[in-house]
Symmetry: none
Subunit: 291 residues, 2 copies
């Protein structure tokens, strides 16, 4: 019988492709025929039905199922999901054409230079952040914040959008936050309520806003655990801090974006929520179930 020849079949298209090419010679005639067809017309595998594909590949429908099983999948649908995943969320024809259009109509305009510059700065910032972050820091920060009764968010000026976003994101996740630094301006009184059972998250970049530093000292003095997001190990926020993240944003024309800090904020919010929810379910990557 044509049993599964593989332990775990690949999820990624590239691996599957390599597997098919490698197995090709060892497969019986009809299955090899299918293998060739899948390599030559991957789009057809992604969109067709067992009936339509088998017709075009000149085999029986059952042969397609056998082929999938020979590769270790439970059936044809599972194999097909890999071919579909390859086409999802990719830049498509429509967008590619738009892009081409934009590039040759006004690729050199001053406006486009700004867009390009800031886009590149954002992408670089995010990439560097990803490369440098220590996952255990994220875990630790999530632990601290998840254990907090209330999370006090401290951020002024350029950092304020970050804390504002965290306030929103954590709020939608059902986590209580207090946002300092808003134009209302009664921050010190608000922060005086922070205690050991709460936690604070402070964000500040060079040049550090004196208020942020002062507020941070205050809450630390009240024995409130602190998580900091800043841009240098020498930042005043990095001292007396339970855990801190270093975020260095690339700049363009002297302006720094917030892309990396925002990315960290989003990840942090979800990490906290997941931890609160208990260990919850692991992120199942079973988005492949379609059809």
């Amino acid at each position: 019988m044509t049993e599964a020849l593989t332990d775990i079949p690949p999820h990624a298209f590239n691996e599957l492709r390599d597997l098919i090419i490698e197995k090709r010679d060892k497969l019986p005639r009809r299955l090899a025929q299918v293998a060739a067809y899948t390599i030559e017309f991957p789009d057809d595998i992604a969109f067709g039905t067992v009936g339509s594909i088998s017709e075009r590949a000149a085999v029986q429908p059952s042969t397609l199922v056998r082929f999938a099983k020979a590769l270790g999948y439970s059936g044809f649908s599972e194999l097909q999901a890999v071919f579909q995943q390859r086409l999802r969320d990719r830049p498509n024809n429509y967008e590619a054409r738009l892009q081409a259009f934009d590039e040759h109509t006004s690729g050199h305009s001053p406006a486009m230079a700004l867009i390009d510059g800031f886009s590149e700065a954002a992408t670089r910032s995010v990439e560097r952040f990803k490369a440098r972050i220590k996952p255990e820091d994220l875990d630790e920060a999530a632990r601290i914040l998840a254990a907090a009764d209330t999370i006090y968010l401290i951020g002024l000026r350029r950092s304020y959008p970050i804390t504002a976003y965290l306030s929103y994101a954590l709020g939608t996740l059902g986590i209580k936050t207090v946002l300092a630094g808003s134009p209302s301006g009664v921050d010190r009184e608000i922060l005086s309520f922070a205690g050991a059972r709460d936690a604070a998250l402070a964000v500040s970049f060079t040049p550090y806003a004196p208020m942020t530093v002062e507020y941070t000292r205050q809450v630390v003095g009240q024995n409130t655990p602190l998580v900091a997001i800043t841009d240098s190990p020498f930042s005043p926020l990095a001292l007396n801090t339970s855990v801190w993240f270093e975020i260095v944003e690339s700049d363009f024309e002297g302006f720094r974006t917030l892309a990396a800090a925002m990315t960290l904020a989003a990840a942090l919010a979800v990490a906290v929520a997941e931890r609160r929810r208990g260990v919850g379910k692991q992120n199942e990557n079973s988005e492949l179930s379609g059809r």
Copy 2:
């Protein structure tokens, strides 16, 4: 019965997209909802089943069939074929695919999975934004905002960090702004001062905060020029707007980042500042230069 409104439905995705956008306003509520979903998640239409799509779009399966028929197709499958065709026979940007898969399979710890996921979402958002933006829109927006006496910034909830950032960035560039949507909450009175010589910038994403829509109507009613940042041509902000930007942020585990919107905000701030400086130099006795 919802009869076919069209003679022959389009075969090409671009035509279909235009048709949907055009028809959108004339369609009943649920069908309009489907219209918005098809524009926002075309890949899902291409690959999903009636059941899965209807679930994610929060409508009944029958509504999808009705939608297809309202557009002139014989059924949903015929409509779906157009969405599939769009993804077929694409140019082989094989490198991009390889890269995407490598990134997708990298992270191992749950924390790193979050970082990777949001980083990828941020990068994708920025790339897509860069590909789709029309530089002349940026020029036009900069012209409007540079000519303004005061710039009124309207953004609530998820959009608030964007306007908060703009408030900071424009402020450091010496441009007068008023930020609505802050927790202080006296927005309507503040916005009532906006006039024809000012300008407003509104930011809102699905689900549109009713307050944002209301504020926007108010300032437009006061003849204040409006620049909007939103996520769909169907957004209430895209109507009655001098110029608007479409920002579609990729999501990860249902959470959207702000990377693309922030990038646009940064570019916009600098573009406005540059234009002001330029105008000031060119005609020094201009009434616009004063501030």
